[in-house]
Amino acid sequence: MEEEIQTQEDPKYGIGDYMPSAAIVGVIFSLISFATGLFFGYQQINSEPTGSFFSPFMISSGVICLVSALAGLLAVWHFTKEVSPKLKLGQGAVLGFLTGAIIAILSVAFSELWILLFDPEYTEKILSSLIANIEEMELPSAQKDDMIDAYAEGFQQSSLRQLFMGIPITGLINLITALIGVKIFAEKPEEKF
């Protein structure tokens, strides 16, 4: 009996408890990120190079970052609705990081699938468009060459590298928003006198 009360007052969760919320929110947000990236990606491919910073590709980065950062917050909201309203700060942190990791993994997986199944030349087309845009920028030619080389190498990097290197920062950002989620959605413990 005492142990049951202890469980209710001070709930302990395992990865299995976090996974439904992290997975549902992670899948939804990685699909949103993927679809947004694809939409702006094809806009980039079909746009004329202007030399402006505000190319569709650059706008998509900002939008995707802003949207996917909210995943940690929503994962906590889902957890408090579907699993338990009690969630401590550290538990929220784990849930947020897990959600970010799922987004990082699935976003790369969806992109790879798209390239494999539907448009094998997608990466090359984006890169050509970006290079054309950089060439129109008002920058010293050495800097433009550096940027073009860096983008060209960056687009050729292995998806496995992207996948694992993307996890820590995406995880950390979603961890932060999950902490905010704990503040907003989690049940506050009663004061003890």
């Binding site: 996917s68 990097q157 993307g166």
Partner: protein, 148 residues
């Protein structure tokens, strides 16, 4: 101070995030975009060198706004124990955070639509404000004894 362990774990994580966001220049590379520090941040930042601060001749791994946000989060995090010491009641934390988010959107949109042109300095300052607001919105978790 409560949640002390989590506070110090996140302090290390945020310090690492800010340090790594300084980019390839710190590690002797001429670029950050394809440097491992740049790869770390490529899913969260557009990393345009024309909108980034430079360190040791190389653009940072994130643009100036993102750097401001990360640095602000760290600065705010360092301030939390001071607030705890003076027993500061942060009742408007979430409101200030919402205001800081709206400011970012307003600044980005105004620049996009050509109403004004933001600079690296303005982006760092506005980003920094958001970062500090994020940390301070969580501050009461670390010294309000009602929370565990």
């Amino acid at each position: 101070m409560t949640n002390r362990k989590l506070y110090f774990i996140l302090l290390v994580a945020f310090s690492g995030m800010v340090f790594l966001s300084l980019g390839g220049g710190v590690w002797g590379a001429g670029q950050s975009i394809n440097h491992w520090t740049g790869v770390l941040f490529q899913s969260v930042c557009h990393q345009d060198p024309t909108r980034s601060l430079y360190l040791y001749g190389a653009p940072m791994a994130v643009n100036s706004r993102c750097f401001g946000i990360f640095a602000g989060i760290l600065i705010g995090w360092l301030i939390i124990p001071l607030l705890s010491a003076i027993n500061f009641k942060n009742k408007l934390g979430l409101v200030v955070l919402l205001f800081a988010v709206m400011l970012q959107i307003l600044d980005y949109s105004g620049n996009l639509m050509g109403y004004w042109e933001n600079t690296n300095l303005s982006r760092v300052l506005l980003g920094g404000f958001l970062g500090v607001a994020v940390s301070l919105s969580l501050s009461d978790f670390f010294y309000n004894h009602n929370q565990t």
